[in-house]
């Protein structure tokens, strides 16, 4: 059986989900549960950290596709950070960089969220 876990923390008003292990058709529901829980709490600014993700298949990618529309409709976003080369290559093959912003680290992604908030406030 694949091992896959998520852990979520709050940083500067942004939710950071850490992925760990193998994300496939068997474990995709674990990630679905993490997104569902944030959305139910009204938390739509989400950073996903891929540092400890060893594997992803299209079933895992499908989870991002399933939630992104709802999240963006609520003025939120999913931003991706610390993707290793292997996982990035799969994302790239599927054109995901057109759809998702990818950052080197959590700080940069969180800053981006907070810049967006400030420019909204300035309006």
């Amino acid at each position: 059986m694949s091992e896959f876990t998520t852990s979520t923390k709050q940083l500067d008003g942004v939710s950071v989900i850490n992925l760990k292990g193998f994300l496939d058709a068997h474990t995709a529901q674990v990630l679905e549960a993490a997104f569902t829980s944030l959305i139910n709490d009204g938390k739509f600014n989400i950073v996903v950290n891929f540092k400890d993700l060893a594997y992803i298949s299209s079933a895992g990618l499908g989870v991002f596709m399933a939630y992104i529309e709802n999240i963006r409709d609520n003025n939120g976003d999913i931003k991706l950070v610390e993707m290793n080369e292997k996982v990035f290559n799969i994302f790239d093959l599927l054109g995901f960089p057109l759809l998702y912003q990818i950052f080197n680290n959590e700080e940069d992604a969180i800053k981006k969220f907070n810049e967006a908030k400030q420019s909204e406030n300035a309006e």
Binding site: S2, S57, M65, A66
Partner: protein, 147 residues
Amino acid sequence: MKTLNNKTSNELTVKSKTENLSLIREFVCDAAKGAGFDQLTADKIILAVDEACTNIIKHAYKYYPDGTILVKVKISGTTFIVEIVDHGNAFKPNSVTTPDIEEYYKQHKIGGLGMYLMKTLMDDVKYNSIPGKYNKVKLSKKIISAA
């Protein structure tokens, strides 16, 4: 007792459950490395086989957990072949068009990426269904030795 015809290939038979995907990946990983592929190429083959087997569980067996999936690896000349046999619903892949990735996302479609990945990651993907008997998908990748 079962007679083993093919004396030159490793085989894995598992039930049609997603919890067996990791075992299938380990099996294919071992075989791909044994055939001399580097980690990068082995990873591509592993993902393609995962996608094929996920589809079998989802579409051919519609999550019925007691079907069987047979994964057979062999080397034919300089080609590494993974054959996957199931006894679920027959599949005619000609009816599935390869998605135009950009167009695809514009339509906010979910899924449909598995077949695209399989074709992109492997040199060749061939489906062969004999309805009521079996479905077979054959994934091939050339072994290029570091010259």
